[in-house]
């Protein structure tokens, strides 16, 4: 069984300061992990993904995430926040389902990032 826990429902930072969005997962298999971003009234856009290659994954817009198996974490970071980063961020785990053997996504509950000027 898989699950995803986003530890903060809401994070507020000042423009130009670092961003840290935390995510922990549990999985029976070696999972694939994703971060998606949803801007207000928009669809979801892939930021980055981990698929058992390099543990430090670089994504779009300066975001990166590090897969730490020992801590079962996949935290999302960015060195310097921009106003346009204000959005909802979802941590997502993908692993084969027990019933079908096909991969399915399980979403975290989301973290709303607010960027103050």
């Amino acid at each position: 069984a898989q699950s995803v826990t986003q530890l903060d429902s809401h994070v507020s930072v000042s423009e130009g300061t670092p961003v840290l969005l935390r995510c922990n997962y549990s999985s029976s298999y070696s999972p694939s992990l994703f971060w998606y971003v949803q801007h207000p009234n928009k669809g979801l856009q892939l930021l980055l993904k981990y698929t058992s290659a390099a543990t430090l994954v670089k994504g779009i817009n300066g975001f990166e995430a590090e897969f730490k198996k020992s801590e079962t974490s996949f935290h999302l970071t960015k060195p310097s926040a921009h106003m346009s980063d204000a959005a909802e961020y979802f941590c997502v785990v993908s692993e084969p389902r027990v019933d079908t053997g096909r991969r399915a996504l399980t979403f975290g509950s989301g973290t709303r990032l607010q960027v103050q000027p």
Partner: protein, 115 residues
């Protein structure tokens, strides 16, 4: 060109009505999905189709019936709409791979409000 498109973008309707949401992808993917996002932003998969075949059918009321006329389209028909059906419905597609986590591409969402 829009990769995954949904129509309509907004849908306001009365309880008891029947409505459909359409989804089309031009990415050549073989797998399509419907997700429901509730008022708390929680996203949950409803259905998944692979090459027009139903693969995943979560615990969704029978009032919801997906239809895939071809692998580029996955429509969602909802009968006897209820207040609790109000949500944002997202369509997504991916090219399924057995060993590597596939990226799902999402549509812009359909905001359904049942009055």
């Amino acid at each position: 060109d829009t990769a995954v498109s949904q129509t309509p973008k907004y849908l306001v309707t009365q309880m008891g009505n029947d409505k459909s949401i359409k989804c089309e992808q031009n990415l050549g993917h073989d797998t399509m999905y419907w997700y429901k996002q509730d008022s708390k932003k929680f996203l949950k998969i409803m259905f998944s189709y692979n090459n027009k075949e139903l693969i995943i059918n979560e615990t969704v009321p029978n009032r919801f019936s997906p239809k895939s006329p071809d692998k580029a389209h996955l429509n969602l028909h909802i009968n006897s709409l209820e207040l609790g059906d109000s949500a944002v419905y997202f369509c997504a597609s991916s090219q399924e791979k057995d060993l590597i986590g596939e990226t799902q591409y999402f549509g812009p969402g359909t905001r359904l409000l049942v009055l």
